[in-house]
Every structure is written in structure tokens, then in C-alpha cells.
């Protein structure tokens, strides 16, 4: 009986192609054998306590600050790094991390304003506050992304400072792109293109593992390429660290200009002493700075314009734009078959006109955001040019507080003893 019923319904369903909601095709059976329907399993999420996460983050950063500033011990930094690599990396599988939390926090300001759990905002803030007081101790040993790269940096070489400065601009571009992604509702780009999370999860897409693998292999020689040239959160930490109250220093006491530390830093974060005789007269430098100040509005305008010109390209990051382009092309008859997306679109209630209107709204957002992105990049570029053109007087080997990752490599290179009588 039920077979025939099934067949009839099958035929009916095929004819009508119906989407019957409340009506069921087959009656629910009433069992005579005393059979009871099983309960559906609804397992709760496996959550680790946020208190443990925050306590470990703060504790590890405090210990790192102590190891860097008081103990001056690279071995301690490495030990803490291993702890963090295993907890925040392999145990927590790379999430939660302050690099990604940046997006959640900025999402309140410029994105869709989704409420942020306290844990996330604490994760975003704590490393910045620590950087304001002790330098980038988060980068040194607590960040799992930094830790996995530091573990691979076995044969670091110094790259030319020019290359360092140029490549460092990509981090600003990445930060800008991440903000653009938030403003336009494209998504959380930093998480999407996180290269190392695949290793922490012990599995990932081919592209993700490939990107991570390439970065780690490069990182054998050019230490921590992601941290220096890409990390968007690193940009914020850099700004905070410049104002740090205490910061790691190459020498525990007075610099004796022995030059031994010159090659110690793989991150080019040790500023060489400026020569006693200035390479150019004061007036030439002042004139150059004047020109640069005058050029600022020009640079910003050009960069903003470039951003506006690039917005059609950038807007293709957004799925709505891609779908609208696809539907438009299909309606012109460019494609014979449908993609899953366009099939889903045709099945939905939306009309193409509505989709195009939606795409236009997204494009308008992209135009404004791309202009702002361009201006931000232009300002960053201009700021760096100004910084590089101003000659600072410093007679000693000093740490560049913005760039220094507090890794502690240089400590062992300094022959100067810590003074015993007065605590440093």
C-alpha cells in the first residue's frame, strides 16, 4: 500500500514540482510494536573558558616583558613562545587571536556593528596596552602567527633597509583592505587569508597551506615575513610601541659603539649611529622637508583618485557584485549553463533589477571606501617618506621602537655588562 502511495506521490511531486511546506507527503506512521522515536541529539558547543584565554594572554605577555626587560634572556622568550604556540596555536587552533579581533572591534565602528563579546575586545586591547608600556612583547612570544614563523627562522639574513621599508608598506595596504572589507560588508579578510591557521587546524585548503608553506620557507632566511610585511595588527602595535614607556634596548648600560650588534637584528630594527659630520647642510634638509609638506595634499589627492579608479576592481571582492555580473552576462546569453549561485538566485524571489540595484549600492560603498583606502595608503607612504628623509641625531646603536619585535636576539651580542650596583 505504502509503495503505491509513494509512487503516486512521486509522480505528483514530479508533475507539480511543488514546495509543499506544512503538508507532508507521507503520513507519520503509528507504530504497534511499541517503537519510540529517538530523540535528536543537540550537543552544546565546546567552549574553552574565556577567563583562561585572557589570563594566559596577559600572563604570557607580562612574563615576556619581564624576560625582555629584566632578564634580557632570549631563551626565556623562546620558552614562552613555545607555550603560546601550543596553547593559542595548536590547542585553540589559531582562534581567538588579536589579529583577527581587530576586525570585530573595527566592525562596530565602520562595519555592520555586530556586537562584540568582551573577550574579543580584551584580546584586541591588551597587546596594544602592553605595547604602550613595554614594546611589542605580544609579537615577541605570544602571537601564535609570530611564534610559528619564529620557530622556522633558523638562518635569518638581513635584507637591505630599502627593501624593508618598501615591503613594510604592504602591511598598511593589508590593514586598509581589511577595513575596506568591513565597511563594504565583504567580510573578514584577515581571517579569510590567514596563512598559518591551516597548520594549527592540521588541515586546510590547498591555497591556504601553500601560502603558509611558502611564507614559512621564505621565513627560514627572511625571518617573520608575515609579521613585518603583512600583519595588519602589527601596524597598530608599531604605532603603540613607538610611545612605549620602557622598551628593550640592545645594551644594558652605556653603548660602547663596538659594532658587534650591527648584524644581529634580522628585522633591521637597530638604528645605526648617525655620523658625527652631517652628510648634508641643514638648509638642504629643511628645504626637502618643506617640499614634502607642500606635496602632502597632492600625494593624498592622487592616492584618493587612484583608489576611486580602482574601485571597480576592488568591488569584485564582494559576492553580490560577482552574482550581478554573472546574471547580467547570462541574460545577454554569454553562458549556456548556470552556476550554483545563479541557480539559487533564479529560485529565489528576487528579480534581476533588484539585484542590480543592490549591486549599485554596494559599488557606491566601494567607491567611497576605495577613496578612503587610497588616502590612507597615500598618507602612510607620505609619512614613511618624511620619516626617512629626516636625519636624526643619535650617537649610539638604538632600537627602532616601532619595528623591534623584542625577540631578544641582540642581547647576546652586546659585550657590555649590566652594572651590578644599581638595578637597571
Amino acid at each position: 500500500m505504502i509503495y503505491r502511495l509513494a509512487l503516486v506521490t512521486l509522480a505528483l511531486a514530479a508533475v507539480l514540482g511543488d514546495q509543499a511546506g506544512a503538508e507532508y507527503r507521507f503520513p507519520m506512521p503509528e507504530f504497534e510494536s511499541g517503537y519510540e522515536r529517538p530523540q535528536m541529539e543537540a550537543p552544546p558547543p565546546k567552549l574553552t573558558s574565556p577567563v583562561v584565554d585572557v589570563a594566559l594572554l596577559a600572563g604570557l605577555m607580562a612574563l615576556t616583558a619581564f624576560a625582555v626587560l629584566k632578564l634580557r634572556s632570549r631563551n626565556w622568550v623562546l620558552t614562552l613562545m613555545v607555550v603560546s604556540l601550543f596553547y593559542f596555536g595548536f590547542y585553540r587552533k589559531g582562534c581567538v587571536c588579536p589579529v583577527g579581533a581587530t576586525q570585530n572591534v573595527f566592525n562596530i565602528l565602520i562595519g555592520d556593528g555586530a556586537p562584540v563579546p568582551l573577550l574579543i575586545s580584551i584580546f584586541f586591547l591588551l597587546p596594544l596596552i602592553f605595547a604602550l608600556y613595554f614594546g611589542r612583547v605580544f609579537c615577541a612570544a605570544v602571537c601564535p602567527l609570530g611564534a610559528i614563523q619564529e620557530a622556522c627562522a633558523v638562518q635569518p639574513v638581513q635584507i637591505p633597509r630599502t627593501a624593508e621599508n618598501v615591503l613594510g608598506m604592504f602591511a598598511y595596504a593589508y590593514l586598509g583592505l581589511a577595513m575596506l572589507g568591513l565597511y563594504t560588508g565583504t567580510g573578514f579578510l584577515i581571517c579569510r587569508y590567514d596563512p598559518f591557521v591551516g597548520f594549527f587546524r592540521l588541515g586546510g585548503s590547498f591555497n591556504m597551506l601553500m601560502a603558509g608553506g611558502v611564507l614559512l620557507v621564505i621565513g627560514i632566511f627572511i625571518a617573520r615575513p608575515y609579521c613585518r610585511f603583512l600583519c595588519p595588527y602589527g601596524v597598530l602595535l608599531r604605532w603603540a610601541s613607538i610611545f612605549s614607556r620602557r622598551h628593550a634596548s640592545v645594551t644594558p648600560a652605556e653603548c660602547i659603539q663596538c659594532r658587534l650588534c650591527e648584524t644581529s637584528c634580522p628585522y633591521n630594527a637597530i638604528n645605526l649611529p648617525t655620523p658625527a659630520v652631517q652628510s648634508e647642510p641643514r638648509r638642504a634638509g629643511a628645504r626637502r622637508l618643506g617640499w614634502m609638506l607642500a606635496a602632502m595634499p597632492l600625494v593624498i589627492a592622487a592616492a584618493g583618485l587612484a583608489g576611486v579608479l580602482a574601485h571597480p576592481l576592488l568591488s569584485r571582492l564582494h559576492p553580490v557584485i560577482l552574482l550581478a555580473e554573472r546574471i547580467a552576462a547570462e541574460q545577454r546569453g554569454d553562458f549556456g549553463d548556470l552556476t550554483i549561485e545563479s541557480e539559487a538566485f533564479h529560485a529565489s524571489q528576487q528579480s534581476p533589477a533588484e539585484l542590480y540595484a543592490q549591486a549599485d549600492a554596494v559599488r557606491r560603498r566601494f567607491r567611497a571606501a576605495s577613496a578612503a583606502f587610497g588616502v590612507f595608503l597615500g598618507l602612510a607612504f607620505w609619512g614613511r617618506m618624511v620619516r626617512l628623509s629626516v636625519i636624526r641625531k643619535s650617537p649610539d646603536y638604538e632600537i627602532d621602537r616601532g619595528a623591534c619585535l623584542s625577540c631578544g636576539r641582540c642581547f647576546a651580542y652586546c659585550p657590555v655588562e649590566k652594572p651590578n650596583d644599581v638595578a637597571a
Binding site: 506521490t9 507532508y24 565546546k46 562584540v116 610611545f243
Partner: protein
């Protein structure tokens, strides 16, 4: 300006920055924002099969779940058997599930119970499609919370063509299909 003033000013800037950032974050953060989890809306799902391949986990955190209240317990189950299957038995050539994750058990004439072996299921949605096309639609996909790592941006949601995946508060139950109306509701 002597160095003393300079230090004081820096100290002030630092304290102000910490206070502003901390206060801002405190105001912005909401305790009730804790515990949002990703869930599939069964009413929107079109069984495209991307849940199997786009999750950051392998195998996917999406599994087939079975709302027994809706199930017709049919012998000729279009979620269990391939279209045009030669026999209604457990032969691999007849089964629709590519990994044999859907199990069937005889209950009483003519009813069979179907259960999902979660260890094997990888969320390909073949059975869901079959069940929805010709059956009651009691099989459907859902993100298992014990498996989901709760990414900031669900990688399946981003690739979902019908926008069926959204965040729901963890306090709210699973978005299971319910017997009452056939629409999704709290489970």
C-alpha cells in the same frame, strides 16, 4: 622645555590612549554578545553540496540530522535509495549515500527507521536532496556545535549560494526542522 616636561607629556598621552581605548572597548562590548553560533536555516538550504567542501574542518562540521517526527519511515526512501535502485536493500549499488552513513533498521511492517552515522557523514546533502524532493524532508543538514570551531567568518556561509547560514545566539536551540509546521523553529 626640559626632559621632565617631555616625559610627563608622553605619560599623559599614554594614559589617555589606554583610558580611551579601554573605555571604548568596554562600552562597545556587550556581555550578551557571548556565544553566537553558526546554524543552517533548513528552509533556505538548497542542498548544493558545498557544506561538504567549504568548511575549514575536514570532514566538515556540517552533518545530516534526522527529525524523526516528520519521517514517514518509508521502505522506499528517496533519501536512502538511489533513483531507479534495483532493490530496496543495503547494497552499496542501491544506496544514495556515498559513504554509507545513512543506516536503515527494520521496525515493523512496512516501516524502517533511518539513522545517520555521524562519524561517516560529511554533509554532502545527497540524502537531504532526495528526501526533500520525494519525501517528507525529515533529513536535513545542520552545523553540529560540538564540532564547529566557530570561525569569525564561516567559510561555508561565505560560499553558500542561498544565504542559508547565519549566526544565532547559542542560548537559542539548534535550527532543527520541527514536526508542527514543517518550518524551521527552535529545537
Amino acid at each position: 622645555m626640559d626632559s621632565r616636561d617631555k616625559i610627563d607629556r608622553r605619560e599623559f598621552i599614554r594614559a589617555a590612549a589606554v583610558l580611551a581605548a579601554g573605555g571604548g572597548a568596554w562600552m562597545a562590548a556587550r556581555p550578551d554578545a557571548e556565544g553566537m553560533v553558526w546554524q543552517i536555516d533548513p528552509a533556505k538550504c538548497i542542498q548544493c553540496g558545498r557544506c561538504a567542501t567549504n568548511c575549514v574542518l575536514n570532514p566538515s562540521a556540517v552533518k545530516c540530522v534526522h527529525t524523526y517526527e516528520i519521517c514517514g519511515y518509508c521502505d522506499l526512501c528517496s533519501g536512502y535509495l538511489q533513483p531507479g535502485a534495483k532493490a530496496r536493500d543495503t547494497g552499496a549499488e542501491n544506496e544514495l549515500c556515498p559513504v554509507g552513513a545513512l543506516k536503515r533498521k527494520f521496525i515493523e511492517e512496512p516501516f524502517y527507521e533511518y539513522t545517520v552515522d555521524e562519524e561517516r557523514c560529511f554533509g554532502c546533502a545527497k540524502c537531504v536532496k532526495g528526501c526533500g524532493q520525494f519525501g517528507n524532508g525529515s533529513l536535513h543538514l545542520q552545523i553540529k556545535r560540538d564540532l564547529c570551531v566557530n570561525c569569525n567568518e564561516c567559510s561555508i556561509a561565505r560560499n553558500c549560494p542561498s544565504d542559508a547560514i547565519r549566526r544565532v545566539p547559542a542560548r537559542r536551540g539548534y535550527l532543527f526542522k520541527q514536526w508542527v509546521s514543517g518550518e524551521e523553529s527552535e529545537g
